[in-house]
């Protein structure tokens, strides 16, 4: 049964070698009163039965192979070339662990090194780590770095309200014990409002790019203002958009974080995803988590190793700035394989398809009576639509017609009641978009 290979004879030989009689003799230090409790867990199934049960559970979900998905809000339905999954299923990658022993881990180490390189290329930063848990925790870790760069004296963190609401919630969870003042995101502040909050107590200001509403704000003078106040500028960026848009580095960012899921990772009900984290050289020693560096072996051969290790929890213990140990390594592998096979042109093409299709959809929907699309700012592949009925009712009607509609913004932003955030990617054909527009028209009239 299952995966335990011992035969009765082997078990007896081994017990005898240890000097005990039964398996139960192996637990003398466990208090007798509590030893060997009942486990109320259903009886084992065979692999065949297990697979049938899981298939049934999976098919009880409304997923992107059965529905046309027009929902994003931090999790995006993109094309993933087959090669990505095939590489992830190499047991040499997925059944290894953290490359503590570089001589037998060069595959993982070089893959991470190449991943770091591509993240730096996209973001315009100098260094990237091997990953955080997701975009949200990456932002929370950026706060830790900014507090550290501010020598723990600057205690104010300015967050744009146009950062993903769940990311802002995670920042608050992470820093609730740290005497940090988190401001900026309580109302409808725009960039110029956020700038007025900068002062000598500010450690960082963070914006999302494109922002949670899909828009591209005008960041031209932002970096100068933030830096004049002695604070760090943090961008939460969609990495796929960066194939097309100016890099945050070019816009003056000091730290760039974000969700790497658009880079070859399926929707997967929200995880495992990939928190990427990139930073300028000046602050590289403040970074948390694993970093891979190039070096030579004793024969002069190029090789890779985890470096700057003394920052990490296993060495620095209570003086470490983060407790991260296990990260999202295999998701970084997915991203590096995806970026390799898409390449310079493929990634840009995917981003362009998103842009053109989203703009086509926005124009079409804007012309439907009762709907109005927010078009005052440039956008990438998401846009806000004011709808003629409650979003939950609208989405129910769309579901019946085979669509997963937009995200209900009213849940997080009181002033955006009856607004949905629609997302269009390369996965949505023109026919699908036209059908959505027709459905919206029918439901709205």
């Amino acid at each position: 049964m299952t995966y335990i290979p011992h035969t009765d004879a082997e078990r007896q030989q081994m017990l005898a070698a240890v000097g005990v009689t039964t398996m139960e003799d192996l637990f003398p230090d466990v208090p007798a009163k509590y030893r060997f409790p009942q486990l109320n867990i259903p009886a084992a199934l065979s692999e065949l039965e297990t697979a049938a049960e899981l298939l049934a559970l999976s098919e009880a979900n409304e997923h992107a192979q059965d529905f046309a998905v027009f929902r994003g809000a931090g999790a995006y339905h993109h094309f993933i070339p087959s090669v990505v999954n095939h590489m992830l299923l190499r047991g040499e990658f997925y059944t290894a662990y953290t490359p503590y022993q570089p001589e037998v881990s060069q595959g993982t180490l070089q893959a991470i090194f190449e991943y770091q390189s591509m993240i730096c290329a996209l973001t315009g930063m100098d260094a990237a780590n091997a990953s955080h848990y997701d975009g949200a925790t990456s932002l929370a870790e950026a706060v830790t770095v900014a507090l550290d760069v501010g020598r723990q004296k600057r205690r104010k963190i300015i967050l744009s309200p146009a950062i993903h609401p769940q990311y802002r919630a995670v920042v608050r969870t992470y820093h609730q014990g740290n005497d940090v003042q988190i401001v900026g995101d309580g109302g409808r502040a725009d960039l110029s409002d956020l700038i007025t909050m900068l002062d000598e107590n500010t450690a960082m200001l963070a914006v999302q790019y494109p922002n949670f509403f899909g828009q591209i704000d005008d960041y031209k003078t932002l970096a100068e203002k933030v830096h004049n106040a002695g604070a760090l500028l943090v961008f939460v960026a969609n990495p796929l958009a960066l194939a097309l848009l100016k890099s945050p580095g070019e816009l003056g960012a000091d730290i760039v974080v974000g969700e790497g899921q658009p880079l070859g990772i399926p929707l997967g009900y929200g995880g495992p995803y990939l928190g990427y984290f990139a930073i300028r050289n000046a602050y590289v020693r403040k970074i948390a988590g694993r970093i891979v560096g190039e070096t030579l072996d004793k024969n002069g051969k190029r090789a890779y190793v985890m470096t700057l290790r003394p920052r990490e929890q296993d060495i620095k213990r209570e003086k470490a700035s983060s407790n991260i140990c296990t990260n999202q390594g295999l998701m970084a592998l997915a991203a590096v394989v995806y970026m390799s096979v898409m390449g310079k042109q493929g990634l840009k093409q995917a981003a362009e398809l998103c842009y053109h299709k989203a703009h086509y959809a926005a124009q079409q929907i804007n012309s439907v009576p009762g709907y109005s699309v927010e078009l005052s700012k440039p956008f990438f592949h998401e846009f806000m639509v004011k709808c003629p009925l409650a979003i939950s009712d609208l989405n129910n009607a769309l579901l019946e017609r085979g669509f997963i509609g937009g995200y209900d913004l009213g849940a997080d932003y009181a002033h955006l009641k009856d607004h949905m955030l629609l997302c269009v990617t390369e996965m949505n054909s023109k026919d699908e978009i036209d059908a959505l527009v027709a459905a919206l028209k029918e439901i709205g009239s």
Binding site: H6, E10, M14, L15, A17, V18, Q38, I41, P42, A51, L54, L57, A60, N61, E62, V69, A75, V83, G91, E92, Y94, T95, A96, Y97, T98, V104, T108, A111, I112, F113, S117, C120, A121, H164, Q166, V170, T173, L242, G268, G270, G271, P272, L296, K301, R302, L308, R317, N323, C325, Q328, G329, M331, A332, S340, V341, Y355, H359, S392, I404, E426
Partner: protein, 496 residues
Amino acid sequence: MDSAIPTIYDISVPGRHGSKLPDVDVPKSDMPADLLRADVRLPEVSELQVVRHFVDLSELNHAIDKGFYPLGSCTMKYNPKINEDMARLAGFAHLHPLADESGTQGALALMYELQNWLAEISGFKGTSLQPAAGAQGEFAGILMIRNYHLDRGEPQRTTILVPNSAHGTNPATCTMAGLNVKELPSDQDGNVDLEALRAACAGDNAKTIAGMMITVPNTLGLFEAHILEALEIVHAAGGLMYMDGANMNALLGVVKPGELGFDVMHYNLHKTFSTPHGGGGPGCGAVAVGEKLLPFLPGPLVQMIEAGTDDEAPLYGLRMPEKSIGRLKAFHGNFGMHVRAYTYIRMHGAEGLKRIARHAVLNANYIRVKLQNAYHVPYNRICGHEFVMEGHFKDVPDVHALDISKRLMDYGIHPPTNYFPLIVPEALLIEPTETEDKATLDEFIAAMLKIAQEAHETPELLTSAPHSTPVSRLDEVRAAKQLVLCCSPVRQAASD
């Protein structure tokens, strides 16, 4: 410069295409030129080049699928292939995390069952699957303890007691949560020093105690002999008890931490429940709690909103607990890991889970007794799922645990965890797991005995090892000093 395998940038050729997407099928829209970038330094390679490159890289790794991987405290057991297939079922892999709850009932049902099973296995009242890794589970647990005391109007309870044998994540976690660490010594048998614990909780000290974090079995692989006393001392002081469940593989069906009196623990689903380690992650650090901490769990949790009937399935929904410490991540945790752990538990059932711990412990003890004459085993008694020995010989002072580790690679075996726990000099922490057969253990034992012999006869074989790996020992000082963190085309672009 000789390199084992060129980087993906080294084999890039300008103008080459990999994957191709469809043409634009809608009218194109203008793109504001001032928003666009000029170039992005990504490689240009063919799909076959990508496949060969990453297959070549994969072959440089040691992995469970290739050979024995007794990396202590990491539980490198077999990762069943069925797990991977289940996580990739379309209804899971292509499910949007913000889909309406009516359309995610299958995923929610799975998470609900897993929450309950994990509570049952550990003897707790509730579980949150939010934490992405053990360290995040610890963080959740310590924040819950902190907020429990705040909620009771005892903000002065800011000290967490941590034995000196603890994983580094334990003290780092306390600092992240804004609490103070007081380190406790271990006694001569490898247990937490009860006298030191009593002193730390005595008199006015008691009022500052928030709780204690303790790993069971501890990082020496030993079940704390005085665990009930430790629980009583800390509880009497008004503190809560956190169990680091990294070593839960030794306890499945053996003891329930919640029944012992612990208030909170985290699991590592990527250790105990076979979800793969992925070259560093992802994992899942599900956190389970007793009655006191239920309202503080990180959310959202899956709850049964309406019970099922004969004709209808129950209705599940995501809800935040009343006094939740908050979200630890966007969305609902590493759901793909939940699917794998669910699959694993479903295939084992209660009886199968009980067999896991017993065989993991048997395997560790078998190795221990076979190596105890050749190596010094400092706390030599029946151990849990792992044990520590010293990778050092008094009569061969130049050979260290590192050298033994590197030499093991030449025998095709991944080294044990070395130099941890910190309280044993030249530590080698060996965890075989239950999925290894006797023949594999015997090969490992033979290799270790041979290495002990080599250490005495030809120590340079060890100090210059490994000899058969893709690269030899690395210049780690150079890596840290020269700090090359990107492929050269990207570095050049940055300095342009």
